[in-house]
C-alpha cells in the first residue's frame, strides 16, 4: 500500500513502527537520523514520514524543514513523534511543516489510526 519512512535514532521505536505497519500492508523504510532520512526521501517517493524530533546529526525539525524544500515532497504528510504534551514543541514542528504528531507512548492502534488518517488508499 503505502511507503512509509520512519526516522528515529532509537532502533526499538523503528522496530515497533515496523512491526505494527508491515502487517497492515505498508512497506516501512528506516533511517537512524535526519540526514539519513533526508537521503532516503530524496531517493524515492514516500507516502508518509514518521520522524522523531530529538536525533543526532540532523534533528527532526531540521529534517521536516529540509523535506518541505524537496520539490517532490509538497503535500507529503509528515508526522513527528513527541513525548511532550506542551504545545510549544508541536507548534514549532507544525510551523516547520509537519502535518501531525503521535504522542509517545503510543499503542499500535493509535499509530494505525494516524496513518489511516493521513494515507488514503
Amino acid at each position: 500500500m503505502a511507503t512509509i519512512l520512519t526516522v528515529d535514532d532509537s532502533p526499538s521505536i523503528r522496530q515497533m513502527i515496523k512491526v505494527v505497519l508491515e502487517p497492515a500492508g505498508h512497506s516501512v523504510i528506516e533511517a537512524g537520523d535526519g540526514a539519513q532520512g533526508l537521503a532516503k526521501a530524496q531517493a524515492g517517493k514516500l507516502d508518509l514520514v514518521i520522524t522523531d524530533l530529538n536525533m543526532p546529526v540532523m534533528n527532526g525539525l531540521e529534517l521536516i524543514r529540509a523535506l518541505r524544500k524537496l520539490p517532490g515532497a509538497v503535500g507529503m504528510p509528515i508526522v513527528f513523534l513527541t513525548t511532550e504534551s506542551n504545545d510549544a514543541v508541536k507548534q514549532e514542528a507544525k510551523s516547520a511543516g509537519a502535518t501531525g504528531w503521535i504522542t509517545k507512548p503510543f499503542k499500535p492502534e493509535q499509530l494505525l489510526a494516524v496513518v489511516a488518517k493521513l494515507v488514503r488508499a
Binding site: I13, R68, G75, K104
Partner: protein, 690 residues
C-alpha cells in the same frame, strides 16, 4: 533483526543508551558548558522514556519523565549541571537501569528519594493546562444535539503541509450524514492563483448527534491552522436520505418553502396593479401601447430605407467592431474581471449587431434570377435553340451590393451557355440528346460563401481548340504539358476567344476576363468544369458580405496580414525537407504536391525569419497554394477598408483593415496569389522543358 521481539531490542538499546548517558554525565562534570554533552544526555533520556513507555516499562517512563524535566532545564540553560546534580543524575540512571534489567531488585522508596532530589532542581511553579479541562467539561453539555453546523476555513498552506481538507471532510462524513457546501468567494483570479494553496472554505451541516470530541478528533492535526466554528443545529432538518457526501453549489430548497414563495409572489405583484397613484397608471398604459405598436409593425412587413443609409450603418458597425477588438485586447491584457465581463458583453453585442446589420443588407438572389427569364427566352428565339431555363435557390441571400455586381457577369455567362454551350437542334438530335437544351441557374449556401452555378447540358468545352488558340496566341509553348483544367483557364485570358463565328452576342473576346475580374473584385472566385458531350458548369464562389469577413491574422517579418478565412484550408509547419528544396518551392501535403510562395520574399521582409515557418494552405476552387509566413496569430474579425486609388496597381492585396492595437494590416488577395504561384510553376515548367 526484524524478526526480533521489540522488547528485547529495547533492552539492548537501553543498555547502550545508559553507556552514552553515563559518559555524557561524567564528562559534563569536567566540562559543564559543553552543550553537545547536555544534548546527548537529554536525547538518551528522551529515548529511554519514550521507548520504555511503549514496551510496558511504565515505571521507567514516569521516573524518566521527571529526570528529563530536570535535565530539560539544564539544556535550556536555566540551571547549571553542578557536581551535585550530576551525582543525582547518575543515581537516577542506575535506578532506571535496574528498573529495566532487574525490576524485582528495585524498591520504589529509592526511586522516590531520587525523584525528591531531582525535584529540588525543578521549580514547582508549573501549571498543568487547566484551560483544557474546562473546555472538556463544557463539551458534554453541548453534545446532545441533533447535529452540528460547522464552518471550516483553513490556512492557505494547509495542502503543502500534507493535510488534505477533502480527507478531513470525508472523515467528518463518517460521523454521520453531512451536507457540505464549498464557499468559493476566496478563490482568486487564475493568474494570481497558487495551485498549491487552499482557497476554499466549507459550510457543513452534520446530521449526527456525535460528541464535540469526535469532531475535534477529525481536525486534531489542523486545529491551529484553521478557523473552525461549531454550533449546534437548531432543529432537526430531515437528513438527506441517500447521499452522505454532496457537493452542490446551492442547497436545494425544501419543497414546503417553495409552496410558500409562489403565493407570496402573487401577493407582491397585486398591489402594484391596484395602486391608485398616477405613476402606476402610466406604467399600466405603456405595455398596451407597446402591444399596439407591435401589431402595427406586423402590418407593415418592410420599411424602405435608402441604400446609402445601410452603407453608412455598415461603416459604423465596422468602426464599432474595430473599437471592440481594441477593448477586448486591453481587457485581456489586464486582470480586471469587471472590465473583462464588459468586454465580453460588448463583443457579443457587436457581433450580433454586425450580423443584424449585414442581414439588413441581404437580398434574396431570386430578384436577380427573375431578370434572366426574359433574357433566355429572347436568346433562345434569336438563335433558334429551344432552351429550358431552370432556377433554384432563389431564397439564398446575398449582400445587396453584390447582387447588383452579379447581374452583368451572369448575363454574360448565360449568353455564353446558350450561344456556345447548347448545340443547335440538329447536332443535339445527332448526339441522341433532347432537342430542347437546358440551362440551370442555382444558388446555394456553402459555409461562409454562396455558390452560384450556371450549368448547361451542351457539348462541353473544346479543349483541343482552346489549346490550339492559346498556342497560336503564344500563351503557351507548343506541346506544353498542361492539364485540361489549366487549359480551360485560358478562357479567362483577356482577348481570348475561340468562337469561329462572331455573333452579336458573344465571341468578341471581351467577356470572360471581365467576368473574372468582376467576381474577383468581390473577393469571389470563378471556376469551370466541363464534360465533353454533357455540358459545362461555371461556378462562382462569392463571400456573403463585402464589408466584414472572418480573417486569419498572420505575421511576416514585422508586418501583419489577413488571409480571408474562407479561403484557408489548413495550416501546416514548413518542414526542413520542404525548406531544403529551395529551388522547387513545392510542399508535400499528405502526398500531394502543393506549390508555395514565401511571403517574406514577396513582401521583401527584413530581419531574420522565425525558426519555425508556418504554411497556410489556401485554395480557390480546385487549386491549392501554400503561403509561408513567420507566425499564425489567429482569427480576426476583419472590417475591410478598400485601398485608395493610389494603390490600384497593387495586385496581391485586396484591402486593408485596422487591428485591435490600432495598427493596419493588409488583406491578401487570395485569387491573385494563387495565380501568381501558378505562373511561377508554369515558368518553372517552361524553363525545365527548355
Amino acid at each position: 533483526m526484524s524478526a526480533m521481539d521489540p522488547t528485547e531490542v529495547f533492552r539492548q538499546e537501553a543498555s547502550e543508551l545508559f553507556e552514552v548517558l553515563e559518559g555524557a554525565l561524567l564528562d559534563l562534570g569536567q566540562r559543564p558548558d559543553d552543550r553537545e554533552l547536555v544534548d546527548s544526555a537529554f536525547r538518551a533520556l528522551h529515548t529511554i522514556k519514550g521507548s520504555g513507555a511503549m514496551f510496558g516499562f511504565d515505571k521507567v517512563a514516569s521516573f524518566t519523565h521527571e529526570f528529563e524535566t530536570a535535565f530539560d532545564r539544564v539544556r535550556k540553560g536555566e540551571i547549571r549541571p553542578t557536581q551535585e546534580l550530576i551525582s543525582v543524575a547518575l543515581a537516577a540512571k542506575d535506578y532506571i537501569r535496574a528498573l529495566i534489567e532487574d525490576p524485582q531488585s528495585t524498591d520504589d522508596i529509592i526511586g522516590e528519594a531520587i525523584l525528591d532530589d531531582l525535584k529540588r532542581f525543578v521549580s514547582s511553579d508549573r501549571l498543568e493546562a487547566p484551560a483544557a479541562e474546562v473546555a472538556e467539561a463544557l463539551a458534554p453539555a453541548e453534545s446532545k444535539q441533533a447535529g452540528w453546523h460547522l464552518y471550516l476555513e483553513f490556512e492557505s498552506h494547509i495542502l503543502r503541509n500534507g493535510s488534505n481538507p477533502l480527507d478531513l471532510l470525508e472523515d467528518l462524513c463518517k460521523l454521520g450524514p453531512c451536507f457540505v457546501v464549498p464557499i468559493t468567494d476566496g478563490v482568486p483570479f487564475l493568474d494570481e492563483m497558487d495551485p498549491e494553496d487552499c482557497y476554499l472554505k466549507w459550510d457543513v451541516k452534520l446530521h449526527a448527534a456525535c460528541d464535540k470530541d469526535a469532531i475535534d478528533d477529525v481536525f486534531m492535526f489542523v486545529q491551529d491552522e484553521m478557523k473552525l466554528t461549531l454550533s449546534p443545529l437548531e432543529h432537526v432538518e430531515a437528513p438527506a436520505p441517500v447521499p452522505l457526501f454532496q457537493l452542490l453549489d446551492e442547497e436545494p430548497m425544501p419543497p414546503p418553502v417553495m409552496e410558500k414563495t409562489a403565493p407570496a409572489a402573487e401577493v407582491a405583484a397585486a398591489p402594484v396593479v391596484d395602486e391608485p397613484e398616477p405613476k402606476s397608471e402610466i406604467k399600466r398604459e405603456a405595455p398596451v401601447r407597446r402591444e399596439e405598436a407591435k401589431r402595427e409593425e406586423r402590418g407593415i412587413a418592410t420599411v424602405r430605407v435608402q441604400a446609402e443609409r445601410l452603407d453608412e450603418l455598415m461603416d459604423r458597425v465596422g468602426e464599432l467592431v474595430i473599437a471592440q477588438a481594441r477593448l477586448t485586447q486591453l481587457a485581456s491584457a489586464g486582470s480586471d474581471l469587471s472590465i473583462k465581463l464588459i468586454a465580453e458583453e460588448i463583443e457579443r453585442l457587436a457581433s450580433s449587431l454586425r450580423d443584424t446589420t449585414m442581414g439588413a443588407r441581404m437580398v434574396p438572389i431570386g430578384s436577380l434570377f427573375g431578370r434572366f427569364r426574359r433574357l433566355v427566352h429572347d436568346l433562345s428565339r434569336d438563335l433558334s435553340k429551344p432552351v429550358e431555363f431552370v432556377t433554384s435557390g432563389e431564397d439564398t441571400e446575398l449582400d445587396k451590393t453584390m447582387i447588383e455586381c452579379l447581374a452583368d457577369p451572369l448575363v454574360h455567362l448565360i449568353r455564353n451557355a446558350i450561344d456556345h454551350g447548347i448545340e443547335d437542334t440538329a447536332t443535339r438530335a445527332a448526339a441522341g440528346k433532347t432537342e430542347q437544351g437546358r440551362i440551370e441557374l442555382a444558388a446555394v449556401h456553402s459555409g461562409a460563401q454562396v455558390l452560384v452555378t450556371v450549368k448547361d447540358n451542351g457539348g462541353g468545352l473544346n479543349t483541343a481548340r482552346i489549346r490550339a488558340k492559346a498556342e497560336e496566341q503564344g500563351l503557351i509553348a507548343a506541346g506544353a504539358a498542361l492539364t485540361d483544367h489549366e487549359i480551360h483557364q485560358f478562357l479567362f485570358h483577356p482577348g481570348f476567344s475561340t468562337a469561329q463565328t462572331i455573333s452579336a452576342l458573344s465571341g468578341r473576346g471581351v467577356g470572360m476576363d471581365v467576368v473574372k475580374r468582376t467576381i474577383e473584385n468581390m473577393r469571389g472566385s470563378i471556376d469551370l468544369s466541363t464534360r465533353p458531350g454533357q455540358g459545362t458548369t461555371v461556378t462562382l464562389r462569392l463571400p456573403l458580405t463585402l464589408a466584414i469577413i472572418e480573417g486569419l491574422l498572420i505575421r511576416v517579418g514585422e508586418g501583419r496580414y489577413i488571409i480571408p478565412l474562407s479561403a484557408v484550408e489548413e495550416c501546416v509547419e514548413l518542414k526542413a525537407e520542404d525548406e531544403r528544396s529551395r529551388g522547387r518551392n513545392f510542399l508535400n501535403v499528405r502526398g500531394n504536391l502543393v506549390p508555395f510562395l514565401r511571403l517574406r520574399e514577396l513582401m521583401t521582409a527584413s530581419g531574420t525569419p522565425d525558426q519555425h515557418q508556418k504554411t497556410i494552405i489556401i485554395s480557390t476552387g480546385e487549386t491549392r497554394v501554400g503561403l509561408v509566413a513567420d507566425q499564425i496569430i489567429g482569427n480576426h474579425q476583419t472590417v475591410i477598408k478598400s485601398l485608395s486609388k493610389l494603390h490600384s496597381d497593387v495586385t496581391i492585396f485586396s484591402g486593408a483593415t485596422i487591428l485591435g492595437d490600432g495598427t493596419a494590416a493588409l488583406i491578401l488577395d487570395v485569387a491573385q496569389l494563387v495565380a501568381l504561384a501558378q505562373s511561377k510553376v508554369e515558368k518553372q515548367h517552361i524553363s525545365e522543358a527548355a
